[in-house]
């Protein structure tokens, strides 16, 4: 029981009066990999945003415990410092702020102290090489004019540097070619074994590279089915209608 990292119970949330989450239940233990699949509008991204604390969403019911304490008590930045990480589906551009500066300051914020310059350079180089990112990335402005694939790589680079305890990966695979997908999957697979992972995806392809312990199917703001990797298999063959019909 004590190794529960995230416990979501009967979570309801809405945006501007429109209910999106209608009673989500989810339990992720340290070291577990969960995947959530579902159609557009099912509430998958909302769940990730709500967990990270996006102010546009209002929680109207239910509870979320992170690491044994109510998540409600933590502001967004405190969640990050407590080890939560969200890889955004559509990360914002921050014009004028160089990627290098942003990474260094984010790492300092999350770790609580500025990293040593030389060690950080090494760490950065190793991570970027792994993702096949050119050094010239560091001088560009954060997500400003980035292609979809570049944005996703930058998200994963941040994940690698911030070393989360719980990684929420929101459609990190969309917009990636097969080589990029392999690099991203490699990065996810090399997270520490105690890290909890929640993968949100439309496609089975990523789940072949990052094999989940549990696959959930989300429809209309609820998790309607949970099981092993075979759930993804069935979805691929029969579609969501097959699930709804059951």
């Amino acid at each position: 029981m004590t190794d529960d990292l995230l416990v979501v119970e009967d979570l309801h949330a809405e945006v501007e009066g429109t209910p999106i989450l209608n009673g989500v239940n989810l339990r992720i233990k340290a070291g577990e990999r969960h995947a959530i699949m579902g159609l557009n509008g099912a509430g998958k991204s909302t769940l990730a945003s709500v967990l990270m604390g996006h102010p546009a969403y209002t929680i109207t019911g239910g509870t979320v415990q992170y690491n044994g304490a109510p998540l409600d008590d933590l502001e967004v930045f405190e969640r990050a410092r407590a080890g939560m990480f969200l890889s955004f589906q559509y990360p914002s551009a921050i014009p004028g702020v160089q990627v290098g500066t942003f990474l260094r300051r984010s790492v300092a914020a999350v770790r609580g102290e500025a990293p040593k310059a030389r060690a950080f350079r090494e760490e950065l180089k190793t991570a970027m090489d792994k993702l096949g990112m050119d050094r010239s990335f560091l001088a560009r402005y954060v997500n400003d004019g980035f292609s979809g694939g570049e944005k996703k790589r930058l998200e994963i680079l941040q994940m690698m540097l911030l070393q989360p305890r719980l990684a929420l990966l929101d459609e990190t695979d969309s917009g990636l070619d097969i080589d990029a997908m392999r690099a991203v999957a490699g990065a996810i697979n090399s997270l520490p074994p105690t890290c909890g992972i929640l993968l949100i995806t439309h496609y089975k392809r990523l789940l072949e590279l990052v094999v989940p312990d549990v696959v959930h199917v989300m429809i209309d703001g609820r998790i309607v089915e949970s099981g092993g990797p075979d759930v993804a298999e069935r979805l691929e063959q029969h579609g969501y209608d097959g699930i709804v019909a059951r």
Partner: protein, 468 residues
């Protein structure tokens, strides 16, 4: 400083003050006698005394401007201002000879350190006059003249007479008249033909006394084919009483020369900052203003360039930050007086906590000036709904061949941007700081690195305090 006071002024880090240092202090208030006394004290040539007196009368007769922030301007009590305060009997060439507490102030401001590391010369003005001045010997050997303005007039009266009051005549506006009447201190910089001054030279202006008026006067001449980068910084203590800073800066870039003038104005929120800055660019010369306005209660300042010779170029990059109770009324003016002249104007402003920023710009192309090109970009960023931003661009285009571009944008900090940054461990204030630093990046990247770092730190400080 108590908590309330700190809240009132935000996180202004240069608000400390020293015990007042005065070897000569004039009574408050302005009269012809005050003007004559300043001139007499400095043993000035008669032409300067007469110019001052004429300017004084013009100032008295000239009505207060009805534009900008007329309501704030009307609050200035000219009788409550100290027009001259000498804090040290001479301008020293060695920091060790500067009175201890004044030296200490400049050390806290990091001036001697910067000088050692990367400046070609430094003038440090405290109240009305320079207390320290020095320039690298190699520049002196090349004939570069860099002096405080009082010494400039004393040592090079003919050069000064030839250029003084020619770019910004005292009749230009009420505050240029005031400055001409009571000016003291400022810089005189002359770069001889073909000399390139590689390291920036800096002047730092510090107001320490309450109700002080600082009226420095700066004249920079780059002779044919010369180039120089001049940097100006300024701060003042935080008082409830107001101080007045009214400078005039004249730049003359002769044929093929280049002058870059960079300012980081960081006055405390009790200072009226009413400054006239203008440069003339002769044929194929370039005048660049890099102008940052972070502090003051009210700033009205419009760096201008007269493109007088064919092929001349103007580059003006300015940023303004208006916090609580502040109004930054700033902008750029470029006058294309000759053919094939070009200009680039980039203005960026940020308003926060009810602060107000105004862009007031002028772009003029004379009928005879064919083949001119100009690009004007104004971006405003508002950090909360209480703040205000206005844009008043004026264009007077007399020649149809002109190629002009004008872009303006007003934006708000997006909730998604903040959320994104906060999800990376940054507090809301830190996230704002990053966004604001990024917004000003086109400006900061034009500054020497040391200033850019300092400016970003300052902006971060400004983002703290009122949030959360």
């Amino acid at each position: 400083m108590g908590d309330e006071a700190r809240q009132a002024v935000g996180e202004y880090q240069f608000g400390f003050h020293d015990p007042e240092h005065a070897t000569i202090r004039f009574d408050k208030g302005l009269s012809e006698q005050v003007v004559r006394d300043i001139s007499a004290l400095k043993n000035e040539p008669e032409w300067m005394t007469e110019l001052r007196v004429k300017a004084y009368h013009h100032f008295m007769e000239r009505p207060m401007p009805e534009w900008g922030n007329a309501a704030m301007l009307k609050q200035i009590d000219f009788d409550a201002v100290t027009y001259f305060l000498r804090s040290s009997d001479k301008t020293e060439r060695n920091w060790d000879d500067v009175p201890d507490d004044i030296k200490h102030t400049f050390e806290r401001l990091g001036i001697p350190e910067a000088e050692q590391k990367w400046l070609g010369g430094v003038t440090a003005q405290y109240e009305s006059e320079a207390v320290y001045h020095s320039m690298r010997e190699d520049l002196e050997a090349q004939g570069v003249i860099f002096l405080d303005m009082d010494s400039g007039l004393r040592e090079h009266p003919d050069l000064v007479k030839r250029f003084f009051n020619t770019v910004v005549p005292y009749t230009d506006n009420k505050f240029s008249a005031l400055n001409t009447a009571v000016w003291s201190g400022g810089s005189f910089l002359y770069v001889p033909k073909g000399v390139h001054v590689e390291m920036p030279v800096q002047a730092y202006f510090r107001i320490n006394a309450k109700n002080m008026g600082q009226f420095e006067r700066t004249l920079i001449v780059a002779d044919e084919g010369a180039s120089v980068h001049y940097v100006e910084g300024c701060t003042a203590p935080t008082y409830s009483e107001e101080s007045l800073h009214s400078a005039v800066v004249e730049l003359i870039a002769l044929e093929g020369s280049r002058i870059r003038y960079s300012t980081i104005q960081n006055w405390s929120a009790s200072v009226y900052n009413l400054v006239t800055k203008r440069g003339i660019a002769h044929a194929n010369a370039t005048v660049e203003w890099v102008d940052g306005n972070l502090g003051s209660k009210l700033t009205m300042k419009y760096p201008a360039v007269l493109l007088k010779g064919e092929g001349a170029h103007a580059e003006i990059i300015s940023v303004a930050y208006a916090g609580e109770g502040q109004h930054q009324d700033a902008g750029s003016k470029v006058h294309h007086l000759a053919p094939n002249t070009t200009s680039n104007i980039l203005s960026k402003s940020i308003s926060k906590d009810g602060g107000r920023s105004t862009y007031r710009g002028m772009l003029q192309v004379l009928p005879k000036a064919h083949g001119c090109r100009s690009k004007v970009v104004c971006d405003a960023l508002m950090l909360d709904p209480e703040s205000r931003s206005d844009t008043y661009p004026t264009m007077e285009v007399g020649n149809a061949s002109a190629d002009l571009e004008h872009e303006a944008s007003v934006s708000k900090v997006g909730g998604d941007q903040l959320f994104y940054l906060m999800s990376r461990g940054h507090t809301e204030a830190e996230a704002m700081g990053l966004i604001v630093n990024g917004f000003f990046e086109p400006f900061t990247k034009e500054l020497p690195m040391e200033y850019a770092t300092e400016l970003n730190k300052l902006l971060d400080l400004h983002m703290e305090g009122s949030i959360g």
